[in-house]
């Protein structure tokens, strides 16, 4: 076991990034024309990096599995993007954003990276406005802000419920400008199958053209992985169907350490699973918890009656309901952080109080908000002695103006009117804080291989705050990587074009082709999806919202068995030389079957509870997470050895010089 060097610059926190920029090597503009960079993924982190690198003069190739860079899953982010602009004059600052993020991450992130993130956050907003991103504005023409969970200021910029879409289209338009100039070559419907190392450095990739099935070689002086998270290891998640870990995992197999895989964010307010046919889960914005009250029946027989349709939620009187978040956390109530709210819902459902046919749902009830707003509205409009119906009507209008589009989305999916009957919600996998280990330069343990955005591990610790993912993706791509990569590439100005007709490319391509052939020619018993669903069940039941040593050990064993069976018996129809969705899925599931095992191993080794990682053995007498700073104040970076369960642990000790470690309490 070695100690990893994060390469955090010396000096005071607020000077680190400036000092670093003043002292790095630069590549002159003429030399940049001779340097090639590959970017995998075109979401916020990849799209912004590609555009900026091309603009600086590098030759960029982008790869995405979608038919257009504009469809990367960053597009689905709803709420907003944080920036320490302090436009509201409410006491925000770089330090406060830094502090909130480290605390929200349960003290498992790296101070230097997070402070840099806060430092560049303001510039992101300037940049996006200049690009024509239509953020929400006030009547005075200035930008509007709103508040998000876990903070005491208003620092979230937004574009209705489509902030991710607007930011991604901004990055896409910046890419288009460079494509038009010939500085970016975009390879869409292409999947990275492997990274190629030459002399220990990342020097290219093997990619598959998903339309023709052609296996291609692409060389470069550096490879940037901006391929997103691995939430789909659970099969059901709020991720896009195609989101996968292939690029990151193939780099891991080639020597990039994978850090903290067990840190997964399970979002408390998603539409529950309705049956076995379900293919993905839909998020209901966190903002709903401002007005909705979460409850389950107090009595088991009432829960049973509701599940079998003998009773309706509206039949239960106030004192027959258990508003369990308000009961357990009187100070924060329904607005506890995501990890706490999710665990509490699971606890109630496991105890038998779930309210839908699967027993895995709780109510999010707007009846009291409708009544409260209705009374307020009646009072302010001078309406004396309003009837119950009048109050309902007035209150409903207010709730509709705030959350109308979400209510409509809910009704489309569930076919119930959430104004009349409480919404049913349940936690779902949403974001992965773990990812490829990177140093301050965003470089992985493979020289020349970088990881940005959700694909890396560095900024969110064990739990991510709302509206911070968009911030990190764009910070990495627009402002951090373009500097740090130059420091590395300065040594490559005399290298010249990397040839692809070398033994390294030969053998990497052969491995890829062999793997595809193996998948095409496996035993042919069961579909890819059937394996993915089985894996998802193991992950959700044994590595989900709460974990324990016994079940984690079982999970490691079961996943290894499932993987073995997969390679023997998976059925991939058709041929490899054409568009073949089953083959694409098979390659991704093969990687998830390895990652899942490492995930469970990481969760087993971390004998503490922190953020999204809750170990049942490590909790306070009243069921709260119990962190162990003495023994686990480190990032766990795993080295691949051929078998995930035998991965080697490397530790990066996390040093807190500017923040005092405390226990999070929401009571």
């Amino acid at each position: 076991m070695s100690i990893l060097d994060s390469k955090i610059p010396k000096g005071p926190l607020e000077d680190k990034w400036s000092n670093y920029k003043n002292n790095i090597n630069l590549v002159n503009p003429a030399n940049k024309r001779n340097i090639d960079i590959i970017v995998i993924g075109t979401g916020l982190a990849g799209g912004s990096a590609a555009a900026t690198l091309a603009e600086l003069g590098y030759n960029v190739k982008t790869f995405c599995y979608q038919d257009s860079p504009r469809r990367a899953h960053s597009i689905a982010a709803q709420g907003g993007i944080n920036a320490a602009k302090n436009y509201q004059g409410d006491g925000d600052s770089n330090f406060r954003l830094f502090y909130d993020t480290v605390k929200g991450g349960d003290y498992r992130s790296r101070e230097g990276n997070v402070y840099r993130l806060a430092e560049v956050s303001g510039n992101i907003i300037d940049q996006c406005v200049a690009q024509g991103v239509p953020f929400a504005r006030e009547y005075g023409g200035m930008l509007d802000n709103r508040s998000f969970g876990g903070v005491l200021v208003s620092r979230t910029f937004y574009a209705k419920g489509q902030t991710g879409q607007q930011l991604l289209l901004g990055a896409y338009s910046a890419m288009n400008r460079q494509i038009n100039r010939g500085k970016i070559q975009a390879f869409n419907r292409h999947e990275m199958m492997d990274v190629v190392l030459v002399g220990g450095k990342a020097r290219g990739i093997i990619a598959r053209d998903m339309v023709t099935g052609a296996i291609e070689r692409h060389s470069a002086h550096a490879v940037v992985l901006a391929s997103g998270g691995y939430g789909n290891v659970f099969f059901l998640s709020t991720n896009a169907m195609g989101s996968n870990v292939m690029a990151a995992w193939r780099a891991h197999r080639r020597g990039a350490y994978f850090a903290n895989p067990c840190y997964t964010q399970i979002h408390p307010t998603c539409i529950p699973v309705s049956g076995d046919h379900q293919s993905k889960l839909t998020l209901m914005s966190e903002s709903l918890r401002n007005d909705g009250r979460i409850w389950v029946p107090k009595k088991l027989e009432d829960a049973e009656a509701i599940r079998t349709g003998k009773k309706k939620p509206t039949d239960l009187s106030e004192d027959e309901r258990d508003y369990y978040l308000e009961r357990r956390y009187p100070a924060f109530g329904n607005l506890v952080p995501r990890d706490v709210a999710s665990r509490a819902a699971k606890e109630r459902c496991d105890a038998g109080f779930g309210v839908n046919k699967t027993g895995e749902a709780v109510y999010l009830d707007f009846a009291s908000a409708i009544e409260r707003y209705g009374k307020e509205k009646a009072f302010t409009s001078g309406h004396k002695n309003p009837s119950k119906e009048e109050i309902y009507k007035l209150g409903k209008d207010v709730v509709e103006s705030k959350y109308g589009n979400l209510f409509q989305m809910y009704e489309k999916i569930v076919d119930q009117n959430p104004y009349k009957t409480p919404m049913m919600i349940y936690p779902a996998v949403h974001y992965t804080m773990g990812g490829l280990w990177v140093d301050y330069n965003l470089q992985t343990t493979i020289p020349g291989c970088y990881a940005t955005g959700e694909a890396n591990f560095s900024d969110h610790g064990a739990n991510r705050l709302g509206a911070s993912a968009l911030m990190q993706g764009l910070a990495d791509g627009y402002f951090v990587l373009p500097y740090t990569i130059g420091d590395y590439l300065a040594q490559d100005i005399r290298t010249g074009k990397i040839p692809t007709d070398t033994s390294e490319f030969d053998s990497a391509e052969k491995e890829v082709t062999d793997k595809i052939n193996k998948l095409m020619n496996a035993g042919g018993q069961h579909s890819v999806d059937s394996y993915h669903k089985k894996l998802g069940k193991i992950m959700w039941n044994k590595c989900g919202m709460s974990r324990n040593a016994v079940e984690l050990k079982e999970a490691i064993h079961e996943i290894a068995e499932l993987r073995e069976d997969f390679w023997k018996n998976v059925k991939v129809p058709g041929t490899a030389d054409t568009k073949n969705a089953e083959l694409e899925k098979a390659g991704r599931v093969a990687d998830f079957l390895e990652l899942g095992e490492l995930f469970a191993k990481d969760a087993l080794h971390r004998e503490e509870s922190c953020g999204g990682h809750f170990r049942e053995e490590y909790q306070t007498p009243d069921g709260e997470a119990l962190r162990d700073d003495e023994n686990f104040k480190y990032a766990a970076a795993w080295e691949y050895t051929g078998k995930p369960s035998e991965a080697i642990l490397h530790k990066e000790e996390l040093i807190f010089e500017n923040i005092e470690l405390k226990t999070r309490s929401y009571k």
Binding site: Q66, S68, R71, H73, N123, M241, A581, E582
Partner: protein, 247 residues
């Protein structure tokens, strides 16, 4: 419920395609349309047949990947949603559903229900951007106040997901709604005004080059658009184009 599906099958871009009939049983009203196709594909895989290829990704109506002409309508019979948000409760037991790819000369079929929409990317590459550098410092975001109404209209135009339903709905396979949404987004903002003339000329030129048809104002695009992009954008683009052409 039990359904008859008539699905367009086409091996690749050059092969001749045909409609193929399938019957499917045990479909639940809570399933989404694409989950119904998942069920069909699982059956086909288990029988050793080729599953039906279709584009899809986010399955929450925002990425713009999914398409499908369902019973003659892009994204099916429901309004203001994409195919992935369409639920099977819209149909009833015994129904026959015809499923085809989006049809347009500029959207050639790749396989089965997948079409090539890269023409849209090329229109955006022609000038669907503001020429600002992404790396350096720029002015503070609040330096230029923007009227809320203009910011909101710009946002509404910018919510286009680039799915291509407007083209598939149009009898001329025109891409005016798509192109005008981007032109409008920037034309409504002071940041975009600087290059407005060049932008509209370049984007329209590329649009014509791609083989999209002309607009004859039937308004089908607006009705079928899952994001409700307004026809006003086409009017605005025509004004912008005229203004730029006479200069």
């Amino acid at each position: 419920m039990k359904l008859t599906l008539k699905i367009w099958r086409q091996e690749n871009a050059t092969a001749k395609g045909k409609m193929v009939d399938y019957t499917i049983d045990g479909i639940d009203g809570d399933m989404s349309f694409l989950e119904m196709l998942d069920v069909l594909n699982e059956e086909l895989v288990n029988k050793g047949e080729q599953p039906v290829e279709f584009d899809h990704d986010c399955r929450e109506g925002i990425c713009g990947s999914c398409s499908l002409q369902i019973n003659g309508e892009p994204h099916g019979p429901d309004k203001l949603i994409t195919t992935c948000q369409l639920h099977m409760r819209t149909f009833k037991d015994g129904d026959t559903i015809v499923i085809e790819p989006f049809r347009a000369k500029a959207f050639p079929v790749i396989k089965d229900l997948i079409v090539d929409r890269t023409a849209f990317d090329r229109i955006q590459q022609a000038y669907g951007y503001i020429s600002v550098n992404t790396s350096g410092n720029t002015i503070d975001a609040n330096t230029i106040p923007i009227k809320k109404e203009n910011a909101d209209d710009s946002f509404n135009a910018a919510t286009c997901i680039g799915c291509g339903a407007c083209v598939a709905a149009c009898k001329n396979a025109s891409a005016m709604l798509f192109t005008s949404a981007k032109v409008s987004q920037f034309a409504l903002l002071p940041q975009g005004e600087v290059e407005a003339d060049r932008r509209v000329l370049a984007m329209v030129e590329q649009m014509d080059k791609e083989g999209f048809g002309n607009c004859s104002n039937t308004g089908a695009c607006e009705i079928e658009c899952p994001k409700g992009i307004s026809l006003e954008n086409i009017a605005r683009m025509n004004r912008e184009y005229l203004k730029a052409s006479v200069k």
